[in-house]
């Protein structure tokens, strides 16, 4: 339908905002452009930012109460009737509680519902482990036909939200609560199935998604000062994965580190590992992520540091992988 990106929502590199804020803004722009866009929420509209759409298009906003299974089932029905539903809740409940509705009502029915889940990962922060889903990428990418997107910043989240209106497959969009630095300006164009090389380099490939992209860039800058040249890839499109970009980089560097705000099981790291092995690309490899343990309450950024996802951890892992001899 030719979605138009609004220049008004151009952010400047270094601005800090949460991907959910960009999502909320995108929904309003979408609502203006297409009357078939409908939004559902499960009593979290002021957190997920769907309240912005609700205020402007009350007839096309459905608050389903604290009942995520029904919300996904209703979203499926709306899609079957030709609407373009965006269904939001915290990732814990959208992906976790409602998994079987996403699987059977939505995906098995081949309905292009956009499951836009905010407050994913450790950076929910103070709410603690009950809300810190670190399994969602794994369980969502395991569903046949499901597209999985983890935007790195507001610019990418905005564009992904807009693009999804035209995307003819069920999709999981993983969004965050915490503010993170904008890494793309308005010249960037996100594409489903495409990774983006944020910094070219020759010695080690860092592949990140979500909150970890800006941290990877920060690590790359620090490493450059020490004469270590790394490549930074943002793999926002986890499924489909951009195996071409990833394999080309891995062939060049022979050393790959993945990093994600997710359990090391089933996420970006394993997707990249499978892609490299099946493509016959041999590389030293390290997965950074939450090491198969639950989170806890705390400041969002301190939590990332605590669970081994600090910039210093990336620097450390880069140096250790450089010491490995093939």
């Amino acid at each position: 339908m030719g979605i138009e990106l609004k220049a008004a929502n151009a952010w400047t590199i270094g601005d800090k905002l949460a991907t959910r804020e960009a999502y909320g803004k995108a929904l309003v722009d979408l609502g203006d452009q297409n009357t078939n866009v409908v939004v559902l929420d499960a009593d979290l509209s002021s957190s997920t930012q769907t309240k912005l759409f609700a205020a402007k298009f009350p007839d096309r906003f459905f608050n389903m109460g604290i009942a995520e299974n029904n919300m996904m089932g209703v979203a499926a029905g709306l899609a079957r009737a030709g609407k373009i539903p965006y269904a939001s809740s915290f990732a814990m409940f959208a992906a976790g509680r409602a998994w079987e509705f996403v699987r059977n009502s939505i995906a098995h029915n081949h309905l292009a519902v956009k499951i836009c889940a905010t407050h994913a990962g450790l950076t929910v922060g103070e709410d603690g482990a009950s809300h810190q889903i670190i399994e969602d990428i794994a369980i969502m990418r395991a569903i046949p036909t499901m597209t999985v997107i983890v935007p790195a910043d507001a610019t990418e989240a905005y564009q992904a939200t807009m693009l999804l209106a035209d995307h003819d497959a069920p999709t999981y969009l993983r969004l965050g609560r915490a503010k993170c630095p904008v890494v793309y300006d308005d010249s960037y164009r996100f594409e489903i199935g495409k990774a983006s090389i944020l910094k070219a380099g020759s010695q080690v490939t860092l592949i990140a998604c979500g909150m970890m992209v800006s941290r990877a860039l920060e690590a790359a800058q620090a490493l450059a000062l020490e004469g270590i040249d790394v490549e930074v890839i943002n793999s926002a499109s986890i499924k489909p994965l951009d195996s071409k970009t990833i394999c080309e980089s891995a062939r060049k560097t022979s050393k790959v580190i993945t990093m994600e705000e997710h359990n090391i099981i089933g996420g970006l790291g394993e997707a990249v590992a499978a892609c490299l092995m099946e493509s016959g690309v041999g590389a030293d490899f390290k997965r950074m992520g939450v090491k198969d343990i639950f989170g806890q309450s705390g400041d969002a950024y301190k939590l990332l540091d605590h669970y081994g996802l600090a910039v210093s951890d990336i620097i450390h892992e880069t140096k250790s992988i450089l010491k490995r001899s093939n």
């Binding site: 009942a67 996904m72 089932g73 209703v74 499926a76 029905g77 009737a81 609407k83 029915n109």
Partner: protein, 273 residues
């Protein structure tokens, strides 16, 4: 069609369902037989607008069968309604067949939503009802639910939400056959008083004999007049209805009739038609 002809179609649905299950050596006879009359009234009683030549016709009414295991009855009704050749349904449950064990909208024309996992269909129907309202479409959204699936919490989420959104274009049947997989519903996990539950959730409630064509017809007519509320028609049915040795028998939930059973059942049903 008059009530006699509608009943005749219902029994044809029953006969074909049993033939499918017999041939496949697996499937769910009990819950297929119990909804045969409801399906027949909807498809052949002039209640649903549909076009077998154009299954996606924009102005059609919608039926969502939430109890997807009753696929034999659904396929038989759609076959009799002209969506495809009824003989094709005999490939039921075999590798490569369109006629999956549980109804699949991607494979069979006329199936609006794939189901099988219990407790989804009413939510899906509510989504379609809300969409119809946004489109100012007069179309009706029907759903057929099992009684057992009302034990799913999600069913009550949907029941609550349909009343909240005053979905008066939504008409749900409950196939109240009082049997689920393990036994009688009231022994496994009681649902009574079911009408009161729906009333307490702000639904319009109609109860009728789910095998009485005239009663089903008039219940539907009454449902069309409901304002600002969804309607549930609690259809009191008999699981395995129409076949003496299957009627109200827990064991016929999910086993296939053998050659002898089939011959006996078909003989009984043919005597009715």
């Amino acid at each position: 069609m008059n009530t006699h002809e509608i009943k005749h179609k219902a029994n044809q649905i029953r006969i074909n369902s049993l033939k499918m299950i017999h041939r496949a050596k697996s499937g769910h006879p009990g819950g297929s037989l119990s909804i045969a009359d409801i399906l027949s009234v909807l498809y052949f009683g002039g209640h649903m607008k549909y076009d077998p030549k154009n299954p996606e016709w924009a102005d059609r009414d919608i039926l969502i069968v939430s109890k997807g295991h009753s696929s034999p009855a659904v396929y038989s009704a759609l076959g009799l309604a002209g969506f495809f050749k009824i003989e094709d349904t005999l490939s039921f449950r075999s590798l490569g067949s369109s006629f999956q064990g549980h109804i699949d909208r991607m494979k069979v024309a006329g199936v609006e939503i794939s189901t099988g996992s219990l407790g989804h269909g009413l939510s899906n129907a509510l989504g379609m009802a809300l969409a119809a309202r946004l489109d100012s479409s007069p179309k009706k959204i029907f759903a057929i639910l099992s009684d057992g699936e009302l034990q799913e919490g999600s069913s009550w989420e949907a029941i609550m939400a349909a009343a909240h959104y005053q979905a008066s274009n939504l008409i749900a049947f409950v196939d109240r056959n009082r049997i689920q997989l393990d036994g009688y519903t009231e022994k496994t996990m009681g649902l009574d008083p079911l009408s009161d539950k729906f009333k307490a959730f702000n639904w319009e409630v109609i109860e009728c004999d789910g095998h009485d064509i005239a009663a089903l017809n008039s219940s539907l007519e009454q449902a069309y007049t409901t304002k600002n509320k969804p309607t549930v028609i609690i259809a009191n049915t008999i699981k395995g209805s129409g076949v003496s040795f299957m009627a109200d028998q827990v064991k016929w939930h999910g086993v296939a009739p053998n050659d002898e059973d089939l011959a006996k059942a078909v003989k009984e049903l043919e005597a009715l038609v």
